[in-house]
């Protein structure tokens, strides 16, 4: 380095030790902020524990019974699975408004294949799963290759799939008894196990297992890191050699497939298969669980475990208010508060660059 600039000569005497600062200046709030930044699922977990404690104190021992707590799990299983699908999409900075209706149409297809057309039940399930994945694939194609905004694409497919569902099914419900008689496999996830007074259904276990698998995939495989990278900064991801279009396609298709899996679980929970379930706001419930779970709507941040906690928070709050005999509208109001609170916390945590 012969031509070093005059003003740069002073650098030879510059400090070479690793930067260190006195720690006593950092307040508890700052350290908490840092902790939450590095552990994204901690906020919903803390809120979940707090809400269980608060309702436990307000209601008493009845609330703490393992029966009540496992009942909450049964109630949130479907939203939990849909939330997992939603999480994948939101991690890529997208949104999927169609997961709810994809679930309903998949359930209707499974039911029709097994009962009306008399296909073997396993084949009917496969057809239903394929239908869900196909809906997701359509979303993925439009988002990744047509480069349309995910909100618009899934707003469109939400309506398209919902209408298709009503036209195809002629809004005819398949009765619980018929499912039981002709295709008991569709009720697989209603199977329940008793441990003391705790009641676990196969649906609850499936939800937890699914979230665990997705957590592994997102954190310990290359594809999972690519999902985060695409949501974080798509341009940087592309220049780093990630095939962003393929990742987006896979994410939307997988979301459709998971929604179809939720359909199977929902048949177990509801017994009958009703096309009119398409008007239920499952998609918004899934987004609510995801947002309360601390997944950033701007993409690339959050842990899928948070989504499960988010769904549980909503379940605990609605069960708690129910048991207190409150007007159901209080649940809606509180959910709104939780959503805004969760996003506010997300913004606050994002400020930390430590």
């Amino acid at each position: 380095m012969s031509q070093i600039q005059e003003f740069e000569k002073a650098l030879s005497g510059s400090d070479t030790s690793v930067a260190a600062f006195e720690e006593h200046g950092t307040s508890f709030v700052k350290r908490a902020q840092h902790f939450l930044h590095s552990t994204p699922a901690a906020v919903p977990l803390i809120v979940l524990v707090l809400s269980i404690i608060i309702f436990g104190i307000a209601i008493g021992g009845r609330f703490f019974s393992s029966y009540t707590l496992t009942l909450i799990l049964q109630q949130i299983a479907i939203v939990g699975i849909l939330g997992a699908a939603q999480t994948l999409v939101i991690l890529t900075a997208g949104i999927d408004l169609s997961v709810g209706v994809i679930m309903v149409i998949s359930a209707v297809i499974m039911g029709n294949c097994a009962i009306t057309y008399g296909l073997p039940t396993l084949l009917a399930v496969v057809v239903g799963l394929a239908a869900g994945a196909a809906c997701g694939l359509l979303n993925g194609l439009l988002v990744a290759y047509m480069k349309l905004p995910p909100f618009i694409v899934t707003l469109g497919t939400w309506n398209i799939v919902m209408a298709t569902n009503f036209i195809y099914s002629a809004n005819e419900t398949i009765r619980d008894a018929d499912v039981d008689a002709q295709a008991p496999l569709l009720h697989l996830f209603a199977m329940s196990f008793r441990v003391g007074s705790a009641v676990l259904t196969a649906g609850v276990i499936a939800t937890v297992v699914l979230v665990a698998i997705l957590w592994y995939v997102l954190n310990h495989t290359a594809w999972g890191r690519h999902v985060y990278a695409v949501g974080d900064d798509p341009e940087a991801a592309k220049l780093s050699g990630i095939q962003t279009k393929k990742v987006l396609m896979a994410v939307y298709t997988l979301a459709g497939l998971i929604a179809a899996f939720a359909a199977w679980v929902s048949i177990g929970r509801n017994g009958s298969i009703s096309p009119s379930a398409a008007v239920t706001d499952y998609n918004l419930q899934a987004i609510t669980a995801t947002v309360i779970g601390g997944i950033s709507l701007f993409g690339g941040r959050g842990s899928i475990l948070g989504t499960l906690f988010g769904a549980m928070i909503v379940g605990v709050v609605s069960m708690g208010l129910n048991m207190l005999g409150a007007d159901p509208q209080w649940k809606v109001l509180l959910t709104g508060v939780l959503i805004i609170g969760a996003v506010a916390i997300d913004q606050w945590i994002r400020k930390v660059s430590v």
Partner: protein, 260 residues
């Protein structure tokens, strides 16, 4: 120069609608050298670099790497051929760790069934190699290899991006404005990094507006003007003001410089 060039381009032309960004442009890079590319804003430097790194497909012209004609359809293909680029925006994912970023798109999987069946990442191996690379390039101030890139300073991020390119580039490393946003100390570090990479035998293409930096590290300077190579000069035989005069059209290039 008796050596064969590593990378050559002949007659590159690229038009964006009615705007001509590259006009029959030539380019040569020789083994082990640092070639600086300078030029006014809008001269077409970035388009030239993008054409070489696969981000842009030229309308006309041929690119040869090691004497073989290549046509990159994407930056991924250029990377596979051994051309690594440090982009001006660094192309790092802020929320991912340093190790994850360095191996983005070419992760190492665990050996055995964990890797081939469960596709599990080999984090320890990735972190070790990332740490080795950073140490090799003198980036000792990064304490924690698994910290998120967004927690690093601008100079450290630049260092990570350069380390990534140096670690994987087997033929050519291209750096677009690597010191543009950096302080005095950080710029110095990056220049040292560039020289370190050169010492390891890799040729480097350096795009910069910073004349003192260019004159310090470059072996040859490619002066780009109006979409083509105006001339190639030796920084030891020309003054900075002459280079600026050539680049802005205030002065005509000497006859012999055109051939270099």
């Amino acid at each position: 120069m008796t050596q064969e060039p590593v990378l050559t381009a002949r007659g590159l032309t690229k038009r964006y609608g009615r705007v001509t960004a590259l006009n029959n442009c030539d380019f040569d890079l020789y083994p082990g050298e640092i070639l600086a590319v300078i030029g006014d804003n809008g001269a077409g430097k970035s388009t030239l670099i993008k054409a070489i790194s696969g981000a842009v497909h030229a309308d006309e012209g041929v690119i040869e790497l090691d004497g073989k004609q290549v046509q990159f359809k994407s930056p991924i293909e250029a990377r596979e051929a051994g051309i690594e680029t440090v982009y001006q925006n660094l192309a790092l994912s802020p929320a991912l760790s340093i190790a994850d970023n360095m191996f983005l798109g070419r992760e190492i999987r665990k050996p055995g069934p964990l890797g081939s069946w469960l596709r599990m990442l080999d984090r320890p191996a990735m972190e070790k190699r990332a740490r080795d690379k950073l140490t090799e390039l003198g980036l000792m101030t990064i304490q924690n290899i698994s910290q998120a890139v967004e927690t690093l300073s601008g100079g450290q991020r630049q260092g990570v991006a350069v380390a990534r390119a140096a670690a994987f580039g087997s033929k050519v490393v291209i750096m677009d404005e690597p010191t543009a946003a950096l302080g005095v100390k950080e710029s110095r570090r990056v220049l040292e990094l560039i020289l370190d990479v050169k010492k390891r035998g890799l040729p480097i293409v350096l795009i910069s507006h910073n004349m003192p930096h260019v004159f310090e590290v470059a072996d040859r300077i490619h002066i780009h003007r109006l979409g083509r190579r105006l001339c190639v000069v030796d920084p030891k035989q020309i003054s900075m003001s002459d280079a600026v005069a050539l680049m802005t059209g205030a002065k005509k290039p000497p006859e012999d410089a055109l051939a270099a």
